[in-house]
């Protein structure tokens, strides 16, 4: 196969049909911008939601009076419960200190005694930070001798579980719909561009070109379109990210955070879209009758 000829034909396709090339590149660019921005927002929002889950912890308040001997025994029993990563003892004095930090006043000055019980702050394993597992840990903690009461943010966990599921389903659905739309849009645009070249395809077949020989220049064209579309969309997304980071700042800036490798993925996706669009489109015309092509 004459590779030089294939490349020349593929590249000269740009000169011969400038408008359809521009439209194809534009379509790929727009599709990738939509897909890229959607992925960024989905992924980062998901991470932010999950970070709320990371903050979920339990507090086990101890029965009074607590002695220096009883607290290590309670601690051992707490550690023996599956799903507990760490437990930190908070004495009555430390509890009063935390109260002062939070409310600005010493509780002993208000009530003349310290009513705050000693407690264990309990950190759960990652896999146990959901409604069902937390409920099991909670029940086991309640049964530990010396533990008076256990609290945790049950409603927040329930809310996160429900919303996370809904969010994941909605995002997956929208992502798939967006991807299918992009593939359809790109292959349709490329098909229109190739439609105008039916005559050249028919002539190639007429003079004895093999299917691979006919296909290759179009695939080269598709790849070049995809790479250009990938570069343009990466550039646009980069500008959006830089601008949004400046405007939002703080926590919200995390929604638009992007690693440099993401731009390479966009470039790869563009190449893939361009190639796939060409493969789908050229297949239709390659099987058309030579004589019936006008």
């Amino acid at each position: 196969m004459n590779i030089f000829y294939v490349l020349k034909e593929g590249i000269s396709g740009f000169k011969r049909a400038r408008l359809s090339m521009v439209i194809s590149i534009f379509t790929i660019t727009i599709s990738l911008i939509l897909l890229g921005l959607f992925t960024i927002v989905f992924r980062n929002t998901n991470q932010i939601v999950e970070s709320f889950r990371d903050r979920v912890e339990m507090e086990a308040f101890l029965e009074e009076p607590i002695t220096d001997e009883t607290s290590p025994i309670v601690e051992r029993k707490i550690h023996a419960i599956p799903g507990i990563k760490a437990a930190k003892f908070i004495s009555k004095e430390e509890a009063a200190k935390i109260f002062k930090e939070q409310f600005g006043e010493d509780i002993r000055n208000i009530l003349e005694f310290n009513p705050l019980p000693a407690s264990f702050k309990i950190y759960l394993e990652k896999d146990y930070k959901n409604t069902d597992s937390a409920r099991v840990v909670y029940a086991k903690l309640k049964l530990v001798p010396g533990v008076d009461d256990v609290i945790y943010r049950k409603t927040l966990l329930q809310l996160l579980d429900r919303r996370a599921q809904l969010f994941a389903m909605a995002s997956l659905g929208s992502g798939i719909a967006l991807l299918i739309t992009a593939i359809f849009l790109v292959s349709n645009t490329i098909r229109l561009a190739i439609y105008s070249k039916r005559k050249i395809i028919a002539t190639m077949k007429l003079v004895g070109a093999t299917r691979m020989f006919i296909r290759l220049p179009f695939l080269v064209e598709g790849i070049v379109q995809g790479v250009l579309g990938g570069l343009f969309s990466s550039g646009f997304i980069y500008l959006v990210v830089v601008y949004a980071s400046k405007v939002f700042g703080g926590d919200l800036a995390a929604i638009v955070f992007v690693e440099p490798t993401f731009y390479l993925i966009i470039l790869g996706a563009g190449t893939f879209l361009g190639l796939l669009g060409s493969v789908i489109s050229v297949r239709k015309f390659i099987t058309e009758s030579v004589a019936l092509t006008n």
Partner: protein, 221 residues
Amino acid sequence: MVKLSNVCVSFNRQLVLDHINLEIKAGEFVSLVGTTGSGKSTLLRLLYMDLIPDSGSVSVGKFLSGTISSKQIPMLRRKLGVVYQDFKLLEDRSVYDNVAFSLYVTNARIADIKKKVLNVLANVGLSHKRNSMPHQLSGGEQQRVAIARALVNEPILLLADEPTGNLDPTTSLDILKLLKDINTQGTAVLMATHNYDLVRKAQGRIVQIKDRKVFDVKLKR
């Protein structure tokens, strides 16, 4: 060289060719006549295997319609030259490139391509128009380019489907003369036409398609 045996073709359950038999020998000049829609183009399509018969067999050289694979069809077409009424030239490239195109697809060497293209353009009398674009040429000249493109691969058979259909009588005669010259040099020619005047002047074998059948006819003196 070419043999059709008991060939049947139908489109949408309508029979177009009914158990036809035809043989063309190397170096023959055959005029295929028949009214519009009689099946002349269908018969030509059978020969370059753009169409496979419903039943019966078509053989062109070593290629058989019953056993040919989609990969072999390009190899068959490199042995044939096909010319159409509407020329089917590539409007976006020059005369030279239109003709060279046939050689590029066969992976010929660049040096050979140049030599062969210039040679065939000289044969059809278009050397001086090698850099022209198709739209700058007359109908007769465009058909000469199409013939040059068909000839550049040195085919064993040239198929011409209504080659003068879009041309005036004088130009038509020029094209016929060119086809006859090509035939004299050894290439078999099958020319489908409904121009009986042209057939008379061609003075070769005449095959007629009528009522879905094919048969040889002799012109009355």
